[in-house]
Amino acid sequence: MEFFAISMLNGLSYGLLLFLLSSGLTLIFSMMGVLNFAHASFYMLGAYFAYQLTGYLGFWPALVIAPLAVGVLGALTERWGLRTVHKYGHVAELLFTFGLFYLIEEVVHLIWGRAPVDYRVPAVLDFSAFTIFSTSYPAYRVFMMAVSVGMLLSLYLLLTRTRIGLIIQASLSHPHMVEALGHNVPRVFMLVFGGGCALAGLAGVIGGNAFVTEPGMAAAVGTIVFVVVVFGGMGSLAGAFIASLFFGAVQTFSVALDYSLLNLLDVFGVSVERTSGWYDVLSLSIAQMAPVLPYLLMVLMLVVRPTGLMGTRET
């Protein structure tokens, strides 16, 4: 029970972090048709910027400035990069962001080196928030959840209650009509791309110190985020939300569960000889399978529902 409660909370905080990433990715994708391969790279930049700024200004200014800086970088990427390749079609756009993904990783190598940097949880938040049974729960995790929820609520309000939000929603379904009504769709695109990147940057700021800030973090988180959006259905915010929380839980629970198919067979009174060729496969515990599990679940989802959980788009 104790294990369950702690894992549930960890899964929730990780899931919310994933949604900070996948929501931006989904908004950009459904609006511009571009899957930003480098999305998690902006997450990484957020973490590194925050690390650098914390050294000069402290954590709180960094919490605000780093995501904004990442957002500006994102907007510039859209303006001077994506807009140029747009005329060559979606494949070129995806390739461009793929190239960017490699490039950002190399730039991080160049500036901050290959080893992890010492980006820490600020001292003010480095205490135990509460105790469940006998385990104390870190305050920073609670802070992470609060920031994520706060940010996502304001995003929701922005999209539903403001003029710019309405324009964004309208551009999602009818970009040409919105343009015909006199709105500057390219600028809306730039804002959305920058905003999505800023969200990713924020996730980096609050996630980088909770986990680890290193050049490999973009690749590690990036593939999970892609699994999330494909599983949830590309272009669906609701799908991305459900999938984010689901994979947050899957990731936290699976690493700790030491059951294998062998145990399952045991329940039915079947035992497998150690010499059997199947022993290797059957004895794999869920914890051992944890790295493969998200991809396996994605493939299963696609076999059952090719468009994903809540997706409607064919391409």
Partner: protein, 438 residues
Amino acid sequence: MRDLTAKVEVPSLETASLPRTRFALGRQLALWSVVAAVLLVLPLLFEQSFALSMLSQMGIAVIFALSYNMLLGQTGMLSFGHAVYFGLGSFVCAHVLNAIGAGALGLPVTLLPLVGGLAGLGFGIVFGYVTTKRSGTPFAMISLGIAEMVAASALMFPAFFGGEGGIVTDRVVGDPVLGVSFGPQIEVYYLIAGWCLLCMIAMYALTQTPLGRMANAVRDNPERVRFIGYDPTRVRYRMFCLASFFAGIAGGLATINYEIVTAETLGLMASGNVLFMAFVGGIGHFFGPVIGAVLVSYLQSALSTYTQAWLLYFGLFFVIMILFAPGGIASLFAVHAAPLRHGLLSRLIPGYLLCGAMLAVMLLGFIALVEMLYHFEQGAALGREFNLFGFHVDVTLLKPWLVAGAVFAVGLAAFLFTLPVVKRAWAAVHVELQARDA
């Protein structure tokens, strides 16, 4: 309301000129004879052992990159996981080779790549079924997911993947056949060259078949394909399986060449690498990926010995290519074909020389800055003083930074300033070409 009178725009990664599709058989025969002759002579020109292993590596890369282009260039499927089929073919071959070595199997090593191909085909049939259900961006994401899944399972099944150390094997098995033992690298090179030629011919021939032509149609307009009797999903699936087959052959050759297979061969990096080769070479032309495979293989081994920053240069090169020459190197050649035929090439050359010189200055400054930054950041490992283009540079001083920065800035400004010269020359050539066309 869409404008009915609008023409279908060409969403093209290449120029508007069509590659000539109707090679006469005789000309093809001549072409392949030349390729065969080149493959035969190459190792005689470069005798060092370094060159020989380089050539072997290139041969493998050529097959792999061409097989990748069956997906991207010919069928419009952007895969981030093609190395899976190369790698799995490679692993299966390593186990088969070990079995041959142990005397459990009798199979000539010459035919081993075929085993790799069949393994690639088998896995392509299984994974391709899921992957090709979708097209476009979802296809790309699913291919990535499957690649990650296979890469992650590599650590779960050490018996097959050999864990961190990989599977080691020995290509010299049994008695020599006709004096060939595959011990010396030169024999391996000719094995690779032979398979490379065979695969190139087969893949080229494939583009001339009904399936190959329909693959292009699916790439261009999958919706319309459904209304001329074909199922685009099935076209994609078949092309995917065949591409996996050729990737597996390349993997099998890699097993023979390196005598070791690690999980890295099927990882994301390897998949990105083959994409890079095909794209840089040019996905719109059959021989584009060949250029890319040769060039990238060479640069990788050449640059990585000189600089730590080679991946950065590669990344930049790739991004700039996508931005300004999305048709790859092959398309750069192709756009000059018409001016060459009409004897107009000489009008372009002065501008190219001028602009190229400025570009070289800019690159010099840029490379200096990057190298200095590396030495500054990783001074502990690399030393803060080093030799750069023949100059002794101490990165703790301000002067080298100013000089390098100035060279870069001046080069950039001069490049942008001289660019219109090239543009004007091209405009004049276009006018001239159109006049002659009419």
